[in-house]
């Protein structure tokens, strides 16, 4: 199902077709729940929307490494350290698949990184909050990754093929991340009084920001309607947020932790949990760059990139010298990298089972 050969493309079977005719073919394919593939004709606005969304997702993966990597060197047991390292590594891997998916739309990783570094593209605001204690690692796994999964599972059916396929793999790994977060919080909640307090404090700080991850309410969401029509998005922000709250409330109870919302109560009529007002002023301030870690995150990212410039240049120079016949594209990637195994599925060497 990787290609849709029956669809005409400009310059081949579709020669002489009008823009309107292409659009009709595209609309019909989306309506029939078929996948749009890289070589298919697509409206420029569809392409631009996807690039924006995939880039923001990719940037979120690589910026999201920072708050968790903050605890790798202090992880309190070797088992937890292994789990955390594997998780942060997965995030780098997700960044790779997603930049790859964006490349199929004609936008290079370098171009996107440049936009991230110059502030022209965003990453998820959730990563502008600090990880202050070890319990934050658990809370991120449970709540932030939980929210991400709720958002991302429907993306596995997104109309754009390469993005949908990348999301299938991402979601599998995210579900492992979410479970480890829950399990880590459970250990803390059932541990010493100090550990329990640490867990509760982390949940208190991460709960509301997690709800904001679903984006503004539907009536204020700038891109939602068109994305729903194109089947890039399948459910509205508010629907997904409600789904997330409904999942979390019983889980919090099992954890023995409370959620910091006095208005949480079961609504028999709606068959959903009612919850309190979200303070969108905080969301907007952070989006504007005024969050607790905005500067820190982007500065670290830029510094890593700048400090690595000589390494990337060396790899390109070496590749030019040693494969003179191959024109080098200069994308900033080093094509002859040894391909390291990614993900969590292939660790069966000396590593102990970690989850």
């Amino acid at each position: 199902m990787a290609t849709a050969p029956a669809r005409p493309t400009p310059g081949s079977a579709g020669e002489g077709m009008s823009e309107e005719a292409f659009e009709a073919v595209f609309d019909a394919a989306v309506a029939a729940d078929e996948r749009i593939e890289p070589r298919d004709w697509m409206p420029e606005a569809y392409r631009a929307t996807l690039v924006r969304q995939i880039a923001q997702h990719a940037h979120s993966e690589i910026i999201g490494m920072q708050p968790e990597a903050n605890w790798i060197t202090r992880a309190p047991s070797l088992r937890r350290k292994a789990i955390l390292m594997a998780k942060v590594q997965d995030e780098a891997g997700h960044g790779l698949y997603l930049y790859g998916a964006a490349e199929t739309l004609g936008t290079s990783r370098d171009e996107l990184l440049d936009k991230l570094h110059s502030g022209r593209q965003k990453y998820s605001s959730i990563f502008n909050y600090p990880t202050l204690t070890w319990a934050d690692v658990g809370a991120i796994g449970w709540l932030v990754d939980g929210a991400a999964i709720t958002n991302q599972v429907p993306l596995c059916r997104c109309s754009y093929g390469p993005y949908a396929r990348a999301m299938v793999r991402v979601c599998k790994e995210e579900s492992f991340h979410q479970r480890q977060g829950y399990e880590s919080l459970l250990a803390l909640s059932r541990g010493t009084a100090a550990q329990h307090e640490m867990a509760q404090d982390a949940v208190n700080r991460w709960w509301w920001p997690s709800l904001m991850m679903f984006g503004p309410p539907d009536d204020e969401s700038a891109h939602s309607a068109q994305s729903m029509e194109w089947k890039i998005k399948r459910f509205s922000n508010d629907e997904l947020r409600q789904r997330f709250v409904d999942i979390c409330v019983p889980q919090a109870e099992s954890l023995g932790l409370s959620l910091p919302d006095p208005d949480l109560r079961w609504n028999e009529e709606r068959q959903h949990w009612d919850f309190g007002e979200i303070d969108w002023s905080e969301f907007k301030e952070i989006l504007k760059g005024n969050g607790p870690c905005n500067d820190q995150r982007i500065t670290q990212r830029r510094r890593a990139h700048e400090n690595g410039a000589w390494v990337r240049e060396a790899a390109e120079a070496y590749a030019r010298k040693h494969s003179p016949g191959t024109p080098h594209t200069g994308t900033g990637q080093t094509p002859e990298h040894p391909a390291p195994p990614t993900g969590t599925g292939d660790r069966n060497g000396t590593r102990k089972a970690t989850a």
């Binding site: 790899a315 990298h337 060497g349």
Partner: protein, 238 residues
Amino acid sequence: MTAAAHTAALALGDDALVLSHRLGEWAGHAPVLEEEVALANIALDLLGQARVLLSMAGDEDELAYLREERAFRNLQLVEQPNGDFAHTLARQLYFSTYQHLLYGQLATGDSVFAPLAGKAVHETAYHRDHAEQWTRRLGDGTEESHRRMQRAATALWQFTGEMFQPVEGVPADWQQLERSWQQSVTEVLTSATLEVPEGPRTGAWKAGAGRQGLHTESFGRMLAEMQHLHRSHPGARW
């Protein structure tokens, strides 16, 4: 387990634990996304080895988190700070070559380390390949990368002699190991257009080195960071 095997498990386990920790410090700072994945992957392999080895010697967390600096038996090489990417890769080249050759020997023997070595030898083959490729790329890349790689290879040279000090309980042919290591490293450095460093391969300080529990200044700070949280909650389970 004999006392000698215990000492040996600590020496090999501490090497893996400490280098894994240093590589973990790269997370979020690597020069290119592929290297975020690769360095984390190597760190995870090493942590897996460390857990097996330390568990042979006792409780892995007690050993990792509750020992004082002088009780660690790792090589001084692996505790050296990351420095720039060239320093990290020079450290990788020297250590992964050693570890791959050593596990190669142990894998074919019948010591208590044979089962671990049999698996780890495949992991370290990849670590070694990764380090060799980068040494060539940096050595034979740009003027700047050449200069940095040469500086790193030279700076870490003084820590390489310690690797061949026989470790009680590790049934290896140390002379053979040293010969193979020298030959391989010389070949890689030369093909990377780098000079093989000429200085002595051990320090002038007669008190000893990592295997005797004598470490370098940055190691205490590394342990303070690594052990702080665990020690702040005595007896807690995580």
